[in-house]
């Protein structure tokens, strides 16, 4: 590989660049559209990849693996922020999250917000990142059967919530 990363020889810089936008979108979804948090997550994930602390062993596609790294970084960052907030230190929360603007479909947005995080992440991976359920399962670190269950429950929950809204 010509432009392979020094500490991660199975990852090429060009491949990483090709996936950059998809990674940023995934980071935005993971951070609930907090742009600065998403950038921070992306930088930390790239640091792990460039330094070789997260090593790609070609057990899955690069995109799936990278999305998994991003998810782990985002979860750690979220836990840290929650801890800081609990301790009222507010070290990481000096900047208020940027408002993503009015969603085009507010009812769907609020229905999505009420879903459990795993179901929401799964729908984002499938309907935005265009991953298959199998690939999404690999990103989330769950079995394919479990991912299928979450996927169908998520759609059921959404449909129920949207229909309740329609009835009102």
């Amino acid at each position: 590989m010509q432009d392979a990363l020094e500490n991660n020889p199975t990852v090429s810089r060009r491949e990483l660049e090709r996936l950059h936008e998809a990674c940023f979108a995934w980071a935005l979804l993971l951070t609930d559209h907090d742009r600065s948090a998403a950038e921070d997550v992306l930088q930390q994930a790239y640091l792990l990849v460039v330094s070789g602390r997260a090593r790609f062993r070609e057990r899955s596609s690069l995109k799936t693996w990278l999305f998994g790294v991003l998810r782990n970084v985002a979860r750690r960052a979220h836990r840290r922020r929650r801890l800081y907030r609990m301790l009222a230190l507010r070290l990481d929360t000096a900047e208020e999250p940027e408002e993503p603007g009015e969603p085009a479909d507010p009812r769907l947005q609020s229905a999505l917000a009420e879903l459990p995080p795993r179901q929401r992440e799964l729908l984002g991976l499938v309907f935005y990142a265009d991953l298959s359920i199998e690939q999404a399962a690999a990103v989330l670190g769950i079995s394919i059967g479990s991912a299928r269950t979450h996927y169908h429950r998520a759609k059921q929950n959404l449909r129920r919530r949207l229909e309740v809204d329609d009835d009102r």
């Binding site: 940023f24 559209h33 930088q43 930390q44 969603p103 309907f127 229909e163």
Partner: protein, 125 residues
Amino acid sequence: MTDDELEERLRQHFADRLGGAMERAPSFQSTLAAAERRSPRGGYARRVGPLLVPAAAALLVWLWWPQSPRVDALSSPEVLLAELTSGTNWQAPSDRWLERPARPAYLGLPRIADGGAVLDPPALP
């Protein structure tokens, strides 16, 4: 609402929601450069962390060991100096175990030192 309608609505929603944000996405080069400038988080803790547990355990044993010359040494540098230079007042760890105080009799439990005899429990008031 059919399954296809819901799926289409979801696709459209995610595209709308992320499309605007993506227009202002940081470039790959700037993100990578920023990542390379960052120092790895927890680097120091990762290097020092594994040493902390054995060090704490050694310190606890050192402080807890009863009647050891080392305990005396804590209060008297002269004793420490004498111990370090002579090295004769060392007591084997097994001796320390034999000298530990017996289990309190009021528990009414057998003691090996008493030949395993069960002591009478205290009379109830």
